[in-house]
Subunit: 513 residues, 2 copies
């Protein structure tokens, strides 16, 4: 295995305003939403550096590359690929003092974006004397096989090694290599991860217990498979996040879908919608508008942070509150569609810079997460007639399968994740085999419904915050942090300290023997 | 996944007398032995049905086939292959009474051979009301991809999916399917395995803890990797098994290698050796004779059972005792080579049926285990000048790698097993994450040196027998069983009963909730 160092190119991030909605056509259900699991969507993939704002000073790292096997579980002759990883040894106290290694399980996007949005790890590293490593997930960012993203995403054959198990093996091999390289064999590794990265961190504890001493798995919906949680969970939680701000707002949104549909069916209806929603190109079908609005609501629920943030888009504090304020607040006589436009505008154009909106600026339409959702990450999603503000939709595996075959030429394996990682009996499994895992979830986050929300054992614990959104605990601290968030992070730090001190004690005991 | 039933073709076993020694040439060390890890060698692969003797009446099973993916960890478009499995529901009390599923982790050979030589599982199944399943390991027996063994073993590309991780995934997928098919979702699965199969059973506990409730891993040298145990361990233990019978015998063997070498260097020396050892073809080089004798000693140590057995060869009780009796016992003036011939004859021709000996009857020379030893199962082996009766040999990874590249066109991954399954810290890992594993080892077995020989926790226990050989506990009981063996099996039964009763209690508690 070979490693290349790149000169440090300090970079910061801005998120393109381009809105990228995955347009899948459902001929049988023209008005259904695109109910594929939605983590960070293409935001992660399209995160770009930004020259306006300097990064927080603690984010110093080197970029390096490690040559990984494309298939860890066979001996096929395949090209290796360079896995990028960001590394900082600035605060590491070194192997002699058994300085810990903080290892973020990179998820579906550019690793620099995650590094910048995972300030918690950088902030606590000095306190722990820890090395910090952010490895990129294969097939994302620069860590693509076959020389380029274009080649890697060419077809089902080139994409076929984009799986969670391969990613976990990448992490394990990289950690083993780093420990060897830094003479850090006995240094404890602590895993971090948010969202899909949190799933990876938790699964690492089950699959590679010998590799790390613990994991903070933030907003990790490891139960969002098969029938473990009801398929309505996600959209119900999104809907609840609006309902709790304003029942009127919830109702306007719930009514809006029919308004859009009936408007779209009138003469010049699509033109009218194009104008009302200030779209750059003429709307081709109402479904595209559905998807655009649905994405806004779903992402809003995920990033419903109590302070202004720029995770996916530039947004105010409590963004759903602001959306509902605008939806509810128009003068008497404001139409539902105008209200919706005002609301969605908060998400897509809070800065006011957008002249008009592109519903889909990615004609290639092949993103890594879509592939993963079409292969292993089959997360059933329905929208309930009663409790959801979205158009009713019943999860239909057959149509998902047909879409995946059409789009990628691949057949999903909907039962594989639970076979490989468990799920139905996850409490029993974690209780007996898991240790040192924090499952943190904010109940505002629609992904929390697929998360582990109960303490499992003394060392597999659940931290649930009423007001938390998608892995808010992993973000940098701000002066606006509410008390519960400050406390949550302190609890996490104490738990991690406990893992490391346990480890040190056992290690010393071993040396004494 | 599709399943085909075959009509029950009851078959029994006989082992061909053909002696198959893997001939690797070590140009730089012409007199070194073939120090690749030696489990059952090709005996497993060449086990054939035999019409003379009927199988024990309790071995009733159906043969079925389950279509498995060739690569579980990618979405490459590859042909599926039929995994054969033997199944008996004769004594199963069914799903309503949560009848357990006894699942033998098939290892490197024809599964019928293992089924016949794992009488313990069949004998105890009625007592537990258990279903019995013996799945075949991929690439062995009839469970070969690409339509035929010839195609499957064609080259490194076709062989590349012969890995332990893929085999474990096969087992997990098959168990999940069987549970579904028999409405047996809540029925506890107990894993069994001997030798490499024991390693798989133990690793299943670490990698798929949600799939089974416990494992009996008999003679499973999961520590025989990298530098976890000294590389001299295996040959030292073989040597000790001879030394404990007779120091003279040990010494004759230790001296014999130079005798063979110096005889081979004389005029007509190879002819003389051919005659002395009653070989069918003229000996081409002394190394072949070395390997032939070394295999006999190593296998003898493995099957050094206290009663007559036919596991690999037809052998008397305490076969090493008999070998040494013959080596030591010749009249005064008997040469060392004559003594050695008499001794080795016990192993290769106890029945007296062989007219002459073939050193290598497999010119193709591609066996599954050789492939595994050249890829993942890199088990370092040395022979110590002081303590071993074999020619001194220092483990040399570079030459192993060169041989594997030459033979299969594949480069071994000597650190992969410990990255994937752990090893260096296996005690800590098993203590924290393992549960319900019995590691049983007989100290006469040379593989015991790489086994887990200490109790790890309350439920990860080690059963060590002074007089036991290679997974003797898994064999059918006989009227000649010594007391310690009867007791060992009783202990195993009690432990398994404990796992199942724990499981039932937890299951009921769950239902009560």
């Amino acid at each position: 295995m070979e490693e290349h160092r790149l000169s440090l190119r300090m970079s910061t991030l801005v998120f393109t305003l381009s809105i990228i909605i995955i347009v899948l056509s459902y001929p049988a259900q023209p008005l259904a939403l695109n109910h594929s699991p939605k983590f960070l969507g293409k935001f992660a993939a399209t995160a770009r550096t930004h020259s306006n704002s300097e990064p927080p000073p603690q984010f110093h790292y080197e970029k390096r590359y490690f040559q990984q096997r494309l298939d860890h579980f066979s001996f096929s002759e395949l090209p290796t690929f360079p896995q990028r990883y960001l590394i900082s040894t600035e605060h590491w106290v070194g192997p002699h003092r058994l300085g810990p290694i903080f290892f973020y399980c990179g998820n579906e996007g550019d690793i620099e974006w995650f590094a910048q949005n995972t300030g918690f790890v950088w902030e606590i590293a000095p306190r722990f004397g820890a090395m910090v490593v952010f490895p990129e997930h294969r097939y994302y960012g620069e860590s693509v096989p076959y020389g380029s993203a274009e080649e890697a995403y060419k077809n089902a054959t080139t994409l076929s090694y984009l799986t969670a198990e391969q990613a976990l093996a990448d992490f394990s091999v990289l950690i083993t290599y780093l420990k060897h390289n830094y003479s850090a064999k006995d240094c404890p590794v602590v895993l971090f991860g948010g969202s899909y990265g949190g799933m990876l961190a938790a699964w690492m504890r089950l699959k590679y217990p010998h590799i790390a001493v613990g994991a903070l798995a933030s907003s990790a919906p490891i139960l969002q498979f098969e029938d473990i949680v009801p398929p309505e969970t996600f959209y119900d939680l999104v809907s609840n996040a609006f309902k709790r701000e304003s029942f009127t707002c919830f109702n306007y949104i719930k009514q809006s879908w029919n308004e859009i549909a009936s408007t779209g069916q009138t003469n010049n209806g699509l033109e009218l919608l194009t104008k009302t929603f200030n779209l750059c190109q003429k709307l081709k079908r109402t479904k595209d508008l559905y998807d655009w609005a649905e994405a806004a609501y779903s992402y809003l629920a995920m990033v419903n942070y109590p302070y202004p943030a720029e995770f996916m888009m530039t947004l105010p504090e409590h963004p759903i509150r602001e959306v509902c304020r605008r939806i509810d607040g128009g003068p008497a006589g404001t139409s539902i569609l105008e209200r919706i436009y005002e609301g969605v505008n908060v998400y897509y154009n809070y800065t006011g810079e957008a002249k008009c909106f592109e519903l889909d600026d990615d004609p290639h339409g092949m993103s890594g997460w879509e592939w993963q959702a079409c292969t292993e990450m089959v997360m059933p999603m329905s929208s309930s007639q009663e409790s959801s503000m979205f158009p009713p939709y019943e999860y239909n595996y057959t149509s998902i399968q047909a879409e995946c075959l059409k789009k990628f030429g691949v057949k999903p394996r909907p039962r594989w994740i639970t076979t490989e990682f468990g799920g139905h009996d996850i409490h029993a499994t974690l209780k007996k085999f898991g240790s040192n895992i924090i499952f943190s979830n904010g109940l505002l986050d629609p992904w929390s419904g697929g998360g582990v929300l109960q303490n499992i054992s003394e060392s597999v614990v659940s931290l649930v915050t009423e007001e938390g959104a998608h892995h808010i605990d992993l973000r940098s601290s701000t002066k606006n942090d509410p008390d519960w968030l400050v406390e949550q992070r302190e609890t996490e730090i104490k738990l991690i300290e406990g893992w490391i001190s346990d480890y040190h004690q056992k290690n010393e005991a071993m040396f004494d023997m």
